[in-house]
Symmetry: C2
Subunit: 364 residues, 2 copies
């Protein structure tokens, strides 16, 4: 009998596996359902950006070629958009990969990572995978408690993750809160602004401009094409930081980390202003509708700056989400985050939202 434990790195058993939302095809197959709607993974209900899809069609004949390693064209486009340079950007296999690259580039074993709790699960999983110690600071009224988090920064804390807006709560930290937090942040600590839901929140008057800290503080900002641009299946996101930091991340990434269709898709999605506009409108209208329906049902929800809503259903969420599943509606039960009575529902099309509300009403 082979003992794989002998092979493994110290503390690797600590790493817990991530539990993803169920895919539509699996639910259809397992439950024998014909129509299933998925409001579980904060995907864009309008589909992928049509401009991205048209461009991808033209690129299919070249799939035998390796992708362009540096993602030059996308970096160039992003640099122009933000008034920065190409070397301020790194492109990842989803912004998930940027999280991992930063952890790998910065952490010596036993160093610390500071996170809120609950928040996006990948920070803790991947920090553990890098042998780091994770310090959790509880949310305060479902919001990041930046004051408490700042108090917890010691010389061993190498990275602070700030999901803004946050997942799974949908809340955000304000311009003022972030400015206060960034004052006197030690030079040995990187602040990681995960802005995967940026496009949904950036119109808010007090949403912080994290890029203003570039060159002044050690920060990295990540954004994604998975949500507002509807390209989750392709895996592409980006990080913005100082050329120095980005240069080190570039060295340790795999040379062909971003597939060629993702590069083409993202480049064209960025120009798809109509699609983005429609996405934001659908989200805004759906949010208003769902808020109203939750209020009618007497359910407490957390006002959201994103395309999803965290809602307290007052009963065991695994049970309720199981009931919804049987009716062909996939939502996320929040047990894994320690929020046992909460579900997280993605804002869908009006038709999807209505179906969800109808089934939720029946069950409650």
């Amino acid at each position: 009998m082979l003992k794989v434990k002998l092979l493994l790195r110290k503390n690797i058993e600590k790493v817990k596996a991530y539990q993803p939302g169920k895919p539509i095809s699996e639910v259809k197959r397992d439950l024998g359902l014909r129509r299933v709607i998925k409001l579980a993974s904060n995907e864009n209900p309008l589909g992928p950006s049509p401009k991205a899809v048209s461009a991808i069609l033209k690129a299919l004949s070249q799939l035998h070629r390796y992708p362009e390693s540096s993602c030059f064209y996308l970096k160039n486009r992003l640099a122009k958009r933000f008034g920065l340079e190409e070397n301020n950007f790194i492109i990842g296999n989803g912004s998930d990969e940027i999280i991992v690259l930063v952890l790998r580039a910065l952490l010596n074993p036993g160093e610390k990572v500071l996170i809120a709790y609950p928040t996006f699960l990948i920070y803790e999983i991947q920090a553990n995978a890098c042998g780091a110690k994770v310090i959790r600071v509880p949310l305060c009224r479902f919001r990041y408690d930046l004051k408490r988090m700042k108090e917890k920064i010691t010389p061993e804390v190498k990275i602070v993750f700030i999901a803004n807006p946050d997942n799974p709560t949908g809340t955000y930290v304000t311009d003022r809160e972030v400015k206060e937090f960034m004052e006197d942040i030690p030079e040995k600590t990187l602040v990681f602004f995960d802005e995967a839901y940026y496009e949904f929140a950036s119109g808010l008057p007090d949403y912080p401009r994290s890029l203003d800290f570039l060159g002044k503080k050690n920060i990295i900002v990540t954004r994604s094409f998975s949500k507002a641009y509807g390209l989750a299946g392709l895996r592409i996101g980006y990080g913005i930081g100082s050329p120095d930091l980005i240069g080190y991340l570039e060295r340790i990434r795999e040379p062909f980390n971003v597939n060629s269709l993702a590069q083409v898709g993202a480049l064209n999605a960025l120009e798809d202003k109509d699609f983005l506009k429609k996405t934001l409108k659908t989200t805004q209208e759906g949010k208003k509708y769902l808020y109203q329906e939750f209020e009618k049902l007497g359910l407490t929800y957390i006002p959201s700056a994103t395309n999803f809503i965290l809602v307290d259903i007052g009963r065991d969420s695994a049970e309720i989400s199981g009931e919804l599943l049987k009716k062909g509606v996939i939502v996320r039960a929040m047990n894994a985050w320690g929020l046992n009575n909460f579900i997280r529902v993605t804002i869908g099309t009006q038709k999807e939202n209505e179906k969800f509300v109808k089934e939720l009403k029946r069950i409650l």
Copy 2:
């Protein structure tokens, strides 16, 4: 001035960036050429598997959905093909990602990785990125010297990489050599068989059946869809190992590491037997042609078990490859591998091979 060095992990400066082959579009643009052929990255000259492309076309409307996290369907198909179980497989963003996952799962800082030199560059780059020490054992007549490599295994050596066939030499180690090597391999050492070029070599009578060691020794075997199946642009490869080992790799991988089109493409490419047959035939015929032409030119080449040939051009390879580039032929100069008089040329279509030979003749 911010000091990014304060942030970084120990020894990260040691990591060198990988230098990829130039993309066709870049060469066209830089040199103002209309027709450019790329024989630099061991890509499939016939294009992508047509069955893969048809299946991808049907999947484009669902790009807004996250990929299936576990790659269940592909694992299931592979398991049937090899007479193994789904949990013997991990799917990666190219087999490059499996290399990184294994390094991350096994290495404590300062532990060692044993490689041949020269060989596939990613082993050393990524081992350094994990803070490991790399021991290089020189090739003997352009072949892995497994006897010397075995002598170098100490208790600190956690991983031995065996690229079989090897890149950039195209040579392979035989069944007998591997069997001898695997005898009394310590339990604390994982043998990593990188079989990215498997399909080109597996017909050779003395090519080893690495999977025979599964369950008996600590091994992992990786294969790729980038070469014989023509899907380099999509990024997908797989690892085969014990369920125990695979389980730990699964824990530390990013949950959506393999994009959905890669999953669909690979699943269908596996069934594209005609395409694979045609690819192997084109490679075989092109190899014969190039061998003959090299002989006519009086050039020494290394007989290859892959879809590329390493050839000694007797002059500075950077200079010759630069001359070829001006004529619209991209090949790889072997300086980065310390083989200053060698180029590596991918076997192309007959037309591409002829163009390459014509231009090479003119230059020499």
